[in-house]
Symmetry: C2
Subunit: 193 residues, 2 copies
Amino acid sequence: MTDVKKTRRRPRSDGQRNREQLLEVAKTAFTVGEVDIPLDEVARRAGVGIGTLYRHFPNRDALIEAVYRAELDRLAEAAPVLAAQHPPVEALRAWMRLFVDYIAAKQVIAPALNGLVGGTGALYAHSGDVLKAAVNSLVSAAIAAGEFRADIDPLDLLRALAGVSNFSAGPGWEGSAKRLVDILITGSRSSAS
Amino acid sequence: MTDVKKTRRRPRSDGQRNREQLLEVAKTAFTVGEVDIPLDEVARRAGVGIGTLYRHFPNRDALIEAVYRAELDRLAEAAPVLAAQHPPVEALRAWMRLFVDYIAAKQVIAPALNGLVGGTGALYAHSGDVLKAAVNSLVSAAIAAGEFRADIDPLDLLRALAGVSNFSAGPGWEGSAKRLVDILITGSRSSAS
DNA sequence: GCATATACGGAGCATTGTTCCGTTTAACAA
DNA sequence: TTGTTAAACGGAACAATGCTCCGTATATGC
């Protein structure tokens, strides 16, 4: 109840450095496909003890989430930029393709999604919100411009897009994903049906 | 090279019974959300030893796959039936909705997909083929009838659909998924764009 | 009944996630 | 600089779980 507000020390520099090291190592490992990498190994590669890893990330999921969140945040930040550069529908299309590109380039997102969405769901809560806001603004603009039907739920598009990331295996995958983007957009236009 | 073909004994009845018991228990557990259930626990619930479980299913994934495959096979079998009962596009729509229903009712598929698609990929190989064949026949029919554009890749639709299963968390999920089905179909029609 | 292929069960090993706590060190004040 | 202390470190030890191994039990076919 005592609402004390002590002057807190500035966070220790080594702490921040180690945290970043860990994130970097984890991200690299995931990207290369080592999704199941033991945490000891992550710690070792980052040059820290296992205890340090656990202080920064209370459990495995927390680590994965941190990597995942950073990537998705960056993706979300692209939305307003695209919105400023293109007309509504094209901005959305560009963003969706960007999403696909991210998945293609860094397999971080896909594997991470696999392990986590089924799990706590708490993870998805935050990052989901961020992404949701991103698509939402883009879709809203398209609807406001009269290009999209008013009953289009941005989340629907996000769902479909996320699905693509699951099947990121087979060849010709990327092209297929972009084709899907077009199908989704065409299916959402006000001119259709 | 010796192409011997011995007369083999008929499989022991207790073996088959146990196998079915294990599948049943696993399926139930997965459906209830206990995706991470320890294998010992599965064995115990099925009333068998852990050794027995491992003889039937060499590893965890094999067990999940077995459950998963059975479910998806059933789903695939519905395709020809629907095709016989409805005109092409409606048959496809009905099947896609069925897919969504399956996921909604039995959470088996979604968690299983999550854990596995990212993993070996060998699993997906079989069941994927079965599903692929199912959508393929339905989409081909729609294209042949001139209802769908010729460049529609059945796999694209499957990908999007699978994605839905990932986000099976939030409320209003099912309605949203069905809406997505409509978007996909609209976006694939030959009249559009 | 008898022989034997087949299946069973569970102890035990290996790996990996997680906790705990004594030691070290960066930040701040004097 | 130096002393104090909160913050961070490292890794031994514990716990949970996947998986193996092998002696025992029991259908199956004669």
